[in-house]
């Protein structure tokens, strides 16, 4: 079996690698095409081209919509969709290569194949699925951190009586929200607010400070930032109540919500936690039964 598929795999990977190298070096183009391509590369940013390619591909579009890859990449701070594709391709290729090396080594040692060839693509798909799960987890973790950081600034806006942003055009270093985010040890919120990447997810041009905060909140899916936008709208644009009181009330509301969520979560897990508790008892039984079995086999105590 190895005699058939390993040379085939070698041929395919070598051809793919050679094709990649030739394509990237421009060897497959005519001089005229290469000149046109060079000018285009200079004018059009690389990620724009990739994004256009992805946008034209219906399968890529369906995958992107199903898993909200763009938003996840944005929230997890891992770049754009192109970076995700590169990562997926890399992980898939590495898994296939690692499995092939394993098979080749065992083939060389004369022990046959450890992994049947049919399982290699399955392993690659599994590795890619784990990578997507990791991306979702990272996005969730960063959203959690950013929400806590926004909530922390609310009390200060109330005490200092300052608005979180000065202009609807964008978040700048002079805006109190970004300045305070940069004063935190963890840079998650500062990275989210400091770049203009949120505009990738939003087509609207904010006309007010509240709309700007709402757009950023929607791009990263940060409900507490949307709540802050509501406070800004209520306190400063509608000329509502005392802004300081509004910010402080929002901070309390967020903490009360977290307290309620924590109580529900911990209550619901009171029973779930009993399952690993059984595992702790199982460790005792494993030791006792093994010892008794050994003693019985060796003439008893």
């Amino acid at each position: 079996m190895a005699e058939l598929w390993l040379p085939s795999l070698l041929l395919a990977t070598t051809a793919a690698l050679a094709g990649l190298v030739l394509a990237r070096s421009g060897a497959l183009r005519t001089a005229e095409t290469a000149n046109i391509r060079r000018v285009r590369d200079r004018l059009v940013p690389d990620h724009g081209r990739w994004a256009a390619v992805l946008a034209r591909n219906p399968m890529a579009r369906a995958f992107q919509d199903r898993f909200a890859i763009r938003r996840l990449q944005l929230a997890s701070g891992r770049g754009d969709t192109q970076a995700f594709i590169r990562r997926v391709v890399g992980i898939g290729a590495l898994t296939v290569a690692a499995c092939s090396v394993l098979d080749a080594v065992t083939g060389l040692a004369g022990d046959g194949l450890v992994l049947a060839p049919v399982w290699i693509p399955v392993a690659a798909v599994g590795a890619i699925a784990l990578s997507v799960a990791g991306l979702q987890r990272e996005a969730r973790r960063r959203r959690e951190i950013a929400s806590l950081q926004v909530a922390k600034t609310l009390l200060l806006f109330g005490l200092l009586r300052v608005p979180p942003v000065h202009s609807p055009d964008g978040l700048g270093p002079g805006d109190p929200l970004l300045a305070l985010a940069r004063s935190m040890r963890d840079r998650t919120l500062a990275e989210m607010l400091g770049s203009d990447q949120w505009r990738q997810m939003s087509d609207v041009q904010p006309r007010s400070r509240a709309e700007l905060l709402e757009a950023v909140a929607a791009a990263y899916r940060l409900p507490v930032l949307a709540q802050l936008a509501q406070v800004v709208r209520a306190a400063q644009e509608y000329g509502g109540g005392d802004p300081a009181t509004e910010y402080l009330a929002a901070a309390r509301s967020f903490t009360a919500q977290r307290l309620a969520d924590a109580r529900v979560r911990l209550g619901s897990r009171t029973i779930t936690v009993l399952v690993p508790m059984v595992g702790l008892l199982a460790a005792i039984f494993v030791v006792i039964f093994s010892a008794v079995a050994y003693a019985s086999a060796n003439g008893g105590l």
Binding site: L10, A97, S183, D186, R252, T272, V286
Partner: protein
């Protein structure tokens, strides 16, 4: 055929290297910087734990070394390799898990005292109208849990420096929050600040403590149960070790495999419980940076 397979392995390894380089074109990590980046969070965590237990860092380091030595000694005298390894792991990685309940209970008491102190500050501020004077007065007569924490407020030349020292000494997100709020409050009108402290800030801090306590209680129950079961397991294995036949079992391959499996089941169960009751790490200020920013924002 063997030559061809060998060649294939070589080519595939080259392919992996090429993909790795392609994936990370700028990755030229300085090994020393990487090590220090890896060690710094560990030292920070140890520092936080020592501060929560109210033990100076040097004393805590001595305690950790002593525990390591005791674990090594007991492990070696047991004569069972796996037990020695498990004891060493317990004496190093397991210590924070064993003392976390004590540390968090102490933290909780200190947090409650701090909120009571902020209430005293609000009362004093209403009476005198000078935040710095009130803070110094409160620091002169601290509650027992806050005696060390408030020392910088008694000795610092300026109250701003005192609050920064207090925040840094505490190594606690909650205390840092209180210090940052007081730093922000120094530039406000005292009467308005009293109103804000009483109506919004103190209730918010109390809810924060309630949130921390709710989580702490749930985690503490599970951890205590796990510690009790772990103690039973340790006594059981200790007793086995005194009986000749069972000692033979523990030093046999079968016994060592059993101990490894039991340890993995135990550690895995604790890890699952920890994941189920996981709470997000609190966001923490860099108090020196936030002081500078508060100055800028306040002027703006």
């Amino acid at each position: 055929m063997i030559e061809l397979l060998f060649f294939e392995v070589l080519v595939i390894l080259c392919l992996i290297a090429a993909i790795t380089v392609w994936q990370r074109p700028g990755a030229r990590l300085d090994a020393q910087a990487a090590v220090s980046r890896g060690v710094a969070p560990l030292l920070d965590a140890e520092g936080d734990l020592a501060a929560s237990l109210g033990v100076p860092f040097a004393a805590w380091a001595a305690i950790r070394l002593t525990l390591f030595a005791v674990a090594l000694l007991v492990g070696v005298t047991s004569g069972v390799v796996v037990i020695a390894v498990i004891l060493l792991l317990l004496g190093t990685l397991g210590v924070p898990w064993l003392v976390e309940d004590v540390a968090s209970a102490r933290r909780s008491r200190a947090h409650r005292s701090l909120v009571a102190t902020v209430r005293d500050v609000a009362n004093g501020l209403q009476r005198t109208g000078n935040l710095d004077a009130v803070l110094r007065e409160v620091a002169q007569h601290p509650r027992p849990e806050l005696r060390d924490l408030l020392t910088p407020l008694q000795t610092a030349l300026s109250m701003e420096e005192g609050l920064l020292d207090m925040a840094e000494r505490s190594r606690s997100a909650f205390v840092e929050d209180v210090c940052v709020l007081l730093l922000a409050g120094r530039s406000r009108d005292p009467r308005e600040l009293v109103h804000q402290l009483r109506d919004q800030v103190i209730p918010e801090l109390e809810e924060d403590i309630a949130l921390l306590d709710a989580t702490r209680a749930a985690v503490a129950v599970q951890r205590r149960s796990a510690q009790m079961i772990g103690a039973v397991l340790a006594v059981l294995i200790g007793a086995f070790n005194t009986v000749p036949v069972l000692h033979d079992f523990l030093i046999s391959v079968q016994g060592e495999v059993t101990l490894v499996i039991a340890a993995l089941i135990f550690a895995g169960s604790i890890a699952i419980m920890g994941a189920l009751l996981r709470t997000p790490r609190p966001a923490r200020w860099d108090v020196r940076l936030v002081r500078a920013e508060l100055g800028r924002i306040g002027r703006g």
